[in-house]
Symmetry: C2
Subunit: 707 residues, 2 copies
């Protein structure tokens, strides 16, 4: 990144204390909110001309956040302090923050913003102060990405109402599936100490329109329902509130027993209902804008209403009743599946939830993972989307890279998110995309939700891999507007975060856009998946022993002497019957099923010729080898932008790419050698048989199973 | 802290990129190596006069580290860049780094340094480049603490040879008993990525003379003996080597079986011996200056040579044989104890190890915790010290605050360390202090060692509690020179880290010096202890169920209707027989046993009048209440220095003190209410009965036992 201009530094030192050891480069802490001095002088002058003051009326904390952020950003971008004034009366050439019920007209919703030139000023208006805050960040983004601002006329409203991060963070500071250091939430220090990062976390989220977060893991601790922890959560909520972010808590279903001392947690038991009613009241007393409850119940060993012969709806509705007096929601996860060696986990959520459609309280949202299994590198969309017309379904994406290479693989996720959002469910005829189900337009949902499992932790750069910041950014931008393209978002992020040099920005954007397909190629091509038990780090396709059959690898890939893949057609599990005929028709025929999904739905013979013209075995080898080789290409591309990016970020990403390259070959070799033991064919030219044996690879993987 | 002077900032920006979000204060990252501009102009000018250049000959990486650090430090302290030159020939007014075999004469050892005025220059000399590095840091410390440097004549040698940190860090990034974020060592990123923090970690350690570190938990993972992890460890070693720090690895005893595939890990088995020999060779091939192995064996469920009917010496000697060709050591921990309901864990290490004295290979050092139990807030010294004349005993202190309030209690540990070091074992007559056993002067040990269980993690300020940085600092300073007083060290650290304002520095030093006694008073007064199973966070004196008897609370305090305390006299476990008669005589008589140790050795009746003039019950109450009240005093004292310290540090410490205050009362109430159920007496005036009941406290503790 550019060094601070000396003038800017000089100005800053009059205000702030710099207390760092001499850095060797950008440490990534500022994320995309960098606000470095604009080095293009005419552009900077033009911006400065239009941003001579910030006018803010009143003392709403959220408006103050907007003014503070504009001042911070403009001070950095323009190299001079822009004053905040209480009125723009008689002045021109400034920025005016204005809240008014009529702002933007009926086309703009409560959180939307309008930026327009008005009486010589840039007016940022919204129906609420949150809208103005989002507008302030949008104006800063215009400047950070070098867009003109002198003839601005922008109106934007979020397409989804609840735009949330889900933190899978535990009370001991660990983060389930976290690869970016410890949890951000310091429970042992709360409520007394408010870590200054809480505010920066809030700023980052508000800048991309996120308005809610759950503080704790869905595999929840009952502690969060105690008076002591409610005070701690309230302290976090206070730090996030000025940025329009509401706090939600994940629920441990058995809390009435383990914490409340009741004999049961049966949702129909009057004492249990009274316990939850009192608990929710206590939450709202401590946190007046408390967002609501997130529930993982009867899933992967977690307790739930089915322990008492009740349904998910019984459970959710009980909580909804407790929430009745308040402006909050109950978010119930659809991620459920039973250990059935002869079943198909793919079908579980649909089978469990579609019969309950129409029985949920209106405060309930059912949160559905994008695919039917578990955040695989590539999955078809969940068949629940489009099949729950009477129940608001929310989207659950995973931002943290559980199956996407932790913090050592560069995978830009917007294409993954978009692939699901743009998929057509045909629920209401052609064009009924998942996005339109989620945003309510297909079924007219009263509530709409998009949640992302967070990748932010206490790592100095928040996300471990510097490029993983883009996934947090992309999730927020898509939750706000799912029609944005992956390229647009990547290009914004690169310009805000990495470089303004056009060729380098273009190269990095291209690298990001290709990264997910490259990962899929060496990791799980042609519809393979890997939701195996364990740490989800190492290749282990031979894994066939586990506490439950659906936690083995062989359950999913079904490799045998004949071929590979899970038959989900009529002759198999018939999971395809859960989709609309238009979808089913394309996928049930192996000749028309797109190659990326082929092995999700078909058991294919090793020598079957695919639409690519290659046999399955040859196609698999081509993907594994080309994928792994492509990481070399990624390294080269990154090498080519060296002079355009900060040396610290450059070195960090370079090192991680080297690890990725090593691990990509590991994955390739593991799959190729294992599958070869069934396919019984040589690796086709021009690819070369791996140098190591299957036993070698198994040993290298077993290392990661040792304590 | 002082803000950077604008001139300094201006200069720095020509060299470094500042990439932080505007800080709200000092984030503590720089530890005590702050190098802020000296605001006292005459003093700064005097220093500048004497430090116009840094002369360094050759290209030894360690010498280069010394020159780099001097340049960094002087640039900061003096506000101008001081050049590094290759020769001081004909020049005066500079700093000369000189390595020469004769430096300092025979009074100075290989790692010692001499700082003296020579031909108009400040000459820093050492017999080795490491000595010069330590001298460079000593010179910087002189300036950081405002001492004159124009007539310097200092010679200093470390009194202990192996000055080490032990990291109890796991492969998954967690830290056992760590309260400062995740592990510093990023195993998933290594060996490709070298986190820039590794270098800053090395700088901090070198600045206080630490010359070794174990990278992994003593509850060790076998992974560290694999080729893959050896490469990772080698990468860490490369980052630390330029600062004279050698890397050691903790050993999982059963690695020959679990990793090597052998049928046994019997130390007398030829295959096992061959495996270790090959493994050590592999380690030295990757890390030529590898320090050695640290072993926790047959302790708390860890495997060890006793699994095969062999002794600790058999195990240690087998490893020592493998180490024979190399300049490395085997460090064998004496922390062993069996689950015996009728035994006394106090006696275990002595009973196990003293019979082995004289049987260990000369490459072995036995590492002994300061006390006989487990890092309690106050323990008598371990009776092993002074009783193993033929076996080098190393000291193991715990810097991380496992039993000292995690990261929310301010406990300056130098008085704890000193209390042990200064204790007289009488092994060789009066004056045979533990320190003199450890430094080899009592028994003539050929090797000397002091290890500290590290409190450094990935938290931005390294240690969680900002004041806990002082414990890292104090450990290093005492490992170098155990004759330094707690006050001297505190005063150095405060001046380098927090403030130069004399009254404030004095106040903070005083606060630090009193903090440990205050903690003991509300936590474990008069010789109570609390090595109970669990997370070691919450008071749980009622705890009487556990997988093993010595992991309950009642095993240790022995509260009953008659009184309190563990009888370790002849009428009890007779653990006192392990001490020399002079020590025993003082402690076995309850009338002469110092109050701080009383309940360690005596079961005392509730109404027994103590040397304080109060009954046991009254004395206990006085301690618990006065201790908890003293945290208010600490808050007031800290409040009084507000204007003299950085606002970020001030706020951080203030918040943690508030938590400490709340938790001190929690401890007080838990002990008082529980012990009252045996003592059956009211809380004496002027103290007031706790407002809550014992059940209330139990409930609040049970919360921390919930998932």
């Amino acid at each position: 990144m550019k060094r601070y201009h000396w003038l800017f530094t000089l100005l800053l030192t009059t205000t702030f204390s710099y207390a760092q050891t001499p850095p060797t480069g950008d440490d990534g802490y500022r994320l995309w909110l960098k606000y470095d001095l604009i080095t293009n002088v005419p552009k900077r002058q033009a911006y400065a001309q239009a941003a001579q003051f910030i006018a803010m009326t009143g003392n709403s904390p959220i408006l103050k956040s907007a003014a503070d952020e504009l001042q911070l950003g403009l001070t950095g971008l323009l190299g001079k302090t822009v004053p905040v004034v209480t009125s723009a009366a008689g002045r021109k050439g400034g920025i005016v923050l204005a809240v008014s019920a009529g702002a933007g007209g009926s086309a703009m919703n409560n959180e939307g913003y309008q930026i327009a030139i008005n009486a010589g000023n840039i007016m940022i208006s919204g129906k609420t102060d949150a809208g103005v805050l989002y507008g302030a960040f949008a104006l800063l983004r215009q400047m950070q990405t070098g867009q003109p601002i002198d003839r601005l006329s922008v109106t934007s409203s979020p397409r989804v109402q609840y735009r949330m991060l889900n933190h899978w963070d535990n009370v001991d500071g660990t983060v389930e599936r976290g690869y970016a250091g410890q949890s951000l939430w310091k429970w042992y220090e709360l409520p007394e100490r408010i870590d200054p990062r809480y505010r920066d976390y809030a700023r980052a989220n508000a800048s991309i329109g996120i308005n809610g977060m759950t503080v704790n893991n869905v595999n929840a601790s009952a502690r969060f329902m105690s008076a002591e922890y409610i005070q701690k959560v309230a302290a976090v909520a206070s730090a996030l509130r000025p940025y329009g972010i509401r706090v939600y808590v994940s629920v441990y279903w058995a809390a009435p027993k383990t914490l409340g001392g009741l004999k049961t947690s049966d949702p129909l038991d009057p004492q249990v209902r009274a316990w939850w009613t009192a608990k929710v009241k206590e939450l709202y007393q401590a946190i007046p804008d408390f967002g609501g409850l997130l529930v993982k119940a009867n899933s992967e060993g977690e307790p739930g209403p089915q322990d008492y012969g009740r349904t998910h709806a019984d459970g959710a509705n009980m909580l909804a009743e407790a929430m009745k007096p308040y402006d909050g929601v109950v978010i119930w996860r659809a991620f459920v599946y039973k250990a059935d060696p002869n079943g198909d986990r793919f079908k579980a959520a649909y089978d469990e939830f579609t019969p309950l459609d129409g029985t949920f309280d209106k405060k309930v949202i059912v949160q559905v993972k994008n695919g039917p299994i578990d955040f695989q590198p590539r999955e078809p969309f969940s068949p629940l989307f489009g099949n729950m017309p009477k129940t608001p379904l929310g989207m659950e994406f995973q931002i943290t890279q559980e199956y996407l290479g932790f913090a050592t693989h560069m995978v830009y996720e917007a294409p993954l998110f978009k692939e699901c959002l743009d998929a057509d469910t045909y629920a209401n005829g052609k064009g009924s995309t998942v996005a339109k189900v989620i945003d309510g337009s297909v079924h007219g949902y009263a509530r709409t939700l998009m949640a992302g499992v967070a990748n932010a932790g206490s790592a100095r750069n928040w996300t471990g891999h510097p490029m993983a910041q883009a996934n947090w950014y992309a999730f927020g931008r898509l939750a706000w507007d799912h029609t944005l393209s992956s390229e647009t978002i990547a290009n914004e992020w690169v310009n805000m975060t990495l470089t303004h040099e056009p060729q380098a920005a273009k190269r990095i954007t291209n690298l990001m856009l290709k990264s997910r397909d490259i990962y899929v190629d060496y990791n799980t091509p042609i519809g393979l998946s890997r939701p195996w038990t364990g740490v989800h780090f190492a290749p282990e396709p031979w894994q066939n022993r586990s506490p439950r059959p659906d936690w083995t690898a062989v359950y999913y890939h079904k490799a045998d002497s004949l071929g590979l893949g899970f038959n989900r057609t009529e002759t198999g599990s018939n999971a395809l019957a859960q989709y609309r005929p238009e979808v089913r028709a394309q996928w049930e025929n192996p000749e028309t099923c797109p190659l990326p999904y082929l092995l999700w739905f078909h058991h294919v013979a090793w020598n079957k010729k695919l639409t690519s013209g290659r046999t399955l075995w040859a196609e698999l080898c081509t993907r594994f080898y080309t994928g792994a080789d492509s990481v070399r290409w990624m390294q080269n591309e990154w090498g080519a932008v060296k002079s355009a990016v900060d040396p610290g970020i450059y070195a960090d990403v370079s090192a991680r790419l080297a690890t990725q390259q090593r691990e990509a070959i590991w994955w390739r070799d593991a799959w190729v050698l294992y599958l070869q033991s069934f396919a019984k064919q040589p690796v086709p030219a021009p690819f070369k048989q791996p140098e190591r044996t299957l036993d070698d690879v198994k040993q290298s993987v077993n290392l990661y199973l040792l304590r």
